[in-house]
């Protein structure tokens, strides 16, 4: 082996964008919480970022081919963990998403599952040697994806469960899914939506509530509809230039729900205005394009699938979260990557970026 993979080969442009987004996030977390009982949250977030960065270096050291070799084992461990969480995991925030590891940290198994599904599906797509995906392939991909999706839904965590789907869709797209299959899929979904609507009484009451309040936000001002409305008020009242750092009344007075986490973009929109939102969303677009660039330069298809799996998840997060903040989709609990406060979510993003660096460092390696 010539050309050992080196840290110098990290994508520093990408990391600069990540650094900028994280900085804005930490500042907004500070602004949202400094005057409340939760003051000091930004330090916790910084700690998590530091842990994430350490994890990123660590994961970049292990050749992704090694990881892909272990894909079946990783998948088994992941699914088993999800089952353990369901059976033994303790309830927290009303959802059994957390599992205690060594009593030191709470790790959200679903976040790990995101990484695992990226690796597993990259491995699967890499095994398809033709440029065409057969229906049998699509079926197997569906099964692989829907098992963890179903388990996470059981927790219940609709947001994280949904996040796994784009990995499969984007992967299939690059693996050569045929346009006619896409067309059939679109038609099927169009037909299934009304059916799903009729089946909605099988949803959890809080999920029904969320759909209901999404469709009629004005009817429930203290529930989820209230959250969307308050978020919209925060965003709208921010105007073009924003109210200024630490000066957003919706944010500072606590009208914006979980303003330091899922709704941090609303807090930012209020205080930094449309200008601030532009900068942040363009940074995210830059992040996505830079990730695609890395995918294009990957040494092999497996690497490309890994990078695009990460891209799919991050892009989906940004799209859904930003849409939720302006009331385009129901509240689902999907945080904004790198900005929303949250330990395992932040750690996941850096671990995922570690996979990207992993692929990038090895593009010239033989």
């Amino acid at each position: 082996m010539k050309n050992r993979p080196r840290v110098q080969d990290f994508d520093w442009t990408l990391l600069a964008i990540v650094g900028a987004i994280s900085t804005i996030g930490v500042l907004e977390i500070y602004s949202s919480t400094h005057a409340s009982g939760m003051a000091g949250m930004q330090w916790k977030q910084l700690t998590w970022i530091a842990i994430g960065i350490a994890g990123m270096f660590l994961i970049s050291r292990i050749d992704y081919h090694t990881l892909l070799d272990q894909a079946p084992a990783l998948y088994m461990v992941g699914v088993a963990s999800l089952i353990v969480v369901l059976v033994l995991g303790y309830s927290r925030l009303g959802a059994k998403r957390w599992i205690s590891i060594g009593g030191l940290a709470n790790l959200q198994v679903s976040e790990i599952m995101k990484l695992i599904i990226i690796i597993v599906l990259a491995r699967y797509f890499a095994e398809v040697h033709t440029d065409r995906l057969t229906l049998a392939d699509l079926f197997k991909i569906g099964i692989l994806t829907l098992i963890p999706v179903g388990l996470i839904l059981k927790q219940p965590d609709l947001g994280t469960a949904m996040v796994l789907v784009p990995v499969a869709l984007v992967g299939a797209f690059f693996a050569g899914i045929e346009w006619k299959h896409i067309a059939v899929g679109v038609v099927l979904i169009t037909l299934l939506v009304p059916l799903g609507w009729n089946m909605r009484r099988h949803l959890k009451p809080y999920q029904q509530q969320r759909i209901q309040t999404f469709l009629h936000p004005e009817e429930d001002q203290r529930g989820a509809g209230y959250q969307i409305l308050q978020s919209e008020i925060a965003v709208g009242s921010g105007g073009f230039w924003g109210k200024g750092f630490g000066k957003g009344s919706q944010n500072q007075l606590g009208f914006v729900p979980v303003r330091y986490s899922d709704f941090i973009l609303a807090a930012l929109a209020e205080e930094q205005g449309f200008i601030g939102v532009c900068i942040v969303l363009l940074l995210y677009l830059g992040l996505i394009l830079r990730l695609v660039d890395n995918a294009q330069k990957a040494k092999d298809r497996a690497g490309m699938y890994v990078v695009m799996g990460v891209t799919a998840i991050l892009g989906f997060h940004v799209l859904v979260n930003a849409s939720m903040v302006i009331g385009y989709v129901p509240v689902t609990g999907i945080p904004l990557p790198l900005m929303s406060y949250g330990g395992s979510a932040t750690a996941f993003v850096f671990l995922a970026l570690g996979l990207v660096m992993n692929v990038r460092m090895r593009r010239f390696v033989n």
């Binding site: 081919h65 984007v170 919209e232 965003v235 532009c278 996505i288 294009q296 990957a298 849409s323």
Partner: protein, 622 residues
């Protein structure tokens, strides 16, 4: 090398490029969404944000107190708490109602009615569901802050009537401003403002209301006040001083306690009202808070009409007191000689009908003086027939009957002084001459209010000065109408009224007071005609309104008191007379520094109600 790990370099560049374009397109779509909210609808959402975080809290100005002529507090205000129901979350509200009804003891219908009434108003305006919160109510709200966020407390100024029923019909009461008042004065009133609804509270509302202040505060999402933006203090209303003398008022109230009727005592020279009682009455404290629907219905539909101020609103036949007007008319008009004499056999026939004198044995030969002293009906029938209704009406009207006195109270009634023109205008027929006979003794179509009668008698005794009765001590320029009477007339009539009290055999002799020029005239008006009363028989057939108007001294009275006791079977001198006597006696003794320690606010105030110490009165005078 595993089967998947072939070194396949072919990456789908086209689809990757498509992915990039799609990503950019999504970002553009999102930015359009943000643009819509942040630029297009920015103003709308800024308003909503302000409404969220900034709350305007009215600081209610207390209404001015009402003091008696010596500065004793009759009415004042005190701060208390009202319970608000926030309505901006209908679902939560609906869920919370049963617990609220339970905890605060409000009937479901009452609460629902209040919510229905507020339906048209903006949702962010709360409803006051309990205007006077007890300590238990406040504790309930405080302890349920978390699970009943729809409840809130607001400090308000509440009216207090420490003497409860005393002077209630005159003072009136306060209540929430009506929608029609708000329409007339949209700049001045807000929903829920407290205004005077009746009596002095209404008449002098503009003097005693203060100017409400306003505090704007920033609240957080759970309603906690974070800081104050600005603060405009309330300007309390100014107190007003009344002409009422609490001591005399107390005596009048006590004497009328179990009766139905009214009393007016005033200074005959100035029109200053010293006491005013109407029975039955009510407790205006019940109105200071919102009155429950049921009690309000009771007060309004009670056949006894406790809300009526009988002193200015009861229009009753004056009975024999009217003979003073007749006497004045006879002497002034010179239609008959001053020494006219009639013979009373106990009854007389006019226009083919038999009219009785109250004294069946008859009074024999009577002149004007003995007719007044003994209240001989036949004498007055006779002069009435000779003068005719229009001449009687002219002097009656001149002395203030049939028109409002102009007392500074709302809703005064004018009474009625009939005339040929009046019967033509109202009943479209000619005057029946026989009616004149009834009117001559104060029966029939002639009706007066107690305050009118007091003023009329004072006018006669003061040579024709018709004062404007009033309750506001500093009333600028009270009107005095002149209806000049000849001194001879005044002399004869006042001598008559003096002898009613002081000549043995006079109808008020039993009421005379030592060393006081106590004069007066009683009256006993039948509620039904003599015939109808006889037909019905029993007590109901004999019910009368007993009048007494007394004053002191005999000319230019310093005090004139008119009292009426309704629905008794007894003579006016027996029912109303003692009330008048007690007030005149107390007035005289007070003026001469011999008034006993009065029943002041100190020993009658309700328990637990603090107020400024009553000033000692009367006895300390040198």
């Amino acid at each position: 090398m595993p089967s998947w790990n072939v070194n396949d370099q072919r990456v789908p560049q086209g689809r990757l490029a498509l992915f990039s374009y799609l990503s950019a397109a999504f970002v553009v779509l999102l930015l359009i969404g943000f643009w819509k909210l942040q630029v297009v609808q920015s103003g709308h959402f800024s308003d909503l944000a302000d409404r969220n975080g900034i709350r305007s809290i009215a600081i209610i100005a207390p209404r001015g107190a009402m003091l008696d002529r010596e500065g004793r507090v009759l009415v004042d205000s005190y701060p208390s708490f009202s319970i608000l129901l926030l309505r901006d979350n209908p679902k939560l509200l609906e869920r919370s109602l049963p617990q609220i009804e339970d905890g605060l003891g409000i009937a479901h219908e009452d609460l629902q009615q209040q919510l229905d009434a507020a339906r048209g108003e903006p949702k962010f305006l709360p409803v006051i569901i309990k205007p006077a919160a007890s300590e238990a109510d406040i504790a309930f709200v405080e302890s349920h802050r978390a699970d009943l966020p729809v409840l809130d407390l607001i400090m308000v100024q509440r009216r207090r009537y420490p003497h409860e029923q005393m002077l209630a019909n005159t003072i009136g009461y306060v209540g929430e401003v009506s929608p029609s008042d708000m329409e007339k004065n949209p700049d001045r009133y807000r929903p829920g403002d407290i205004v005077g609804k009746a009596g002095l509270e209404k008449e002098y509302n503009d003097q005693i209301v203060g100017t409400d202040g306003m505090r704007r505060v920033v609240v957080n999402s759970v309603g906690k006040v974070m800081r104050t933006l600005d603060n405009v203090e309330a300007i309390p209303g100014k107190p007003i001083q009344l002409t009422i003398d609490e001591d005399l008022q107390q005596i009048a109230e006590t004497d009328m306690a179990d009766k139905e009727g009214a009393v007016v005592a005033m200074d005959g020279r100035t029109g200053e009202i010293l006491a005013m009682v109407s029975r039955p009455t009510f407790d205006p404290n019940d109105f200071a808070v919102r009155i429950p629907a049921k009690e309000w219905a009771t007060l309004n539909t009670d056949s006894q009409t406790p809300l009526l101020n009988r002193a200015i609103q009861a229009q009753l036949a004056p009975g024999s007191v009217f003979k003073i007007v007749m006497s004045t008319a006879m002497l002034e008009s010179k239609a008959l000689p001053a020494n006219f004499t009639a013979y009373c056999p106990g009854h007389a026939e006019f226009y083919g009908r038999e009219f009785h004198c109250w004294q069946p044995k008859g009074h024999g030969s009577v002149d004007l003086h003995s007719a007044i002293v003994h209240s001989c009906d036949v004498f007055f029938y006779t002069i009435g027939q000779k003068m005719g209704i229009d001449r009687i009406s002219f002097y009656g009207s001149g002395l203030g009957l049939g028109r409002r006195t102009g007392v500074d109270l709302p809703s005064e009634e004018p009474g009625n002084m009939p005339s040929e023109e009046w019967v033509q205008r109202v009943y479209h027929h000619k005057w029946y001459a026989g009616e004149t006979i009834s009117v001559s003794i104060g029966q029939g179509a002639v009706t007066v209010t107690p305050i009118q009668l007091a003023r009329t008698i004072a006018a006669v005794a003061s040579g024709g000065n018709l004062v404007q009765p009033h309750l506001f001590k500093n009333l600028t320029d009270p009107k005095i109408d002149r209806f000049p009477l000849a001194d001879d007339t005044v002399d004869q009539v006042t001598q008559g009224m003096y002898d009613v009290m002081n000549e043995p055999g006079g109808t008020g002799y039993a009421l005379r007071l030592q060393n006081i020029e106590f004069s007066g005239k009683s009256g006993t008006a039948q509620l039904m005609s003599y015939e109808a009363g006889t037909r019905i028989g029993g007590r109901a057939g004999k019910l009368t309104n007993g009048w007494f108007v007394g004053y002191e001294p005999r000319r230019n009275p310093e005090i004139v008191v008119a009292a009426v006791v309704q629905g008794s079977t007894e003579h006016g001198g027996t029912t109303a007379g003692p009330v008048v006597r007690d007030i005149v006696k107390a007035f005289y003794e007070k003026r001469n520094g011999r008034f006993p320690q009065p029943a002041t606010a100190e020993n009658i105030s309700p328990p637990g109600v603090a107020h400024s110490p009553a000033q000692p009165s009367g006895p300390e005078r040198p």
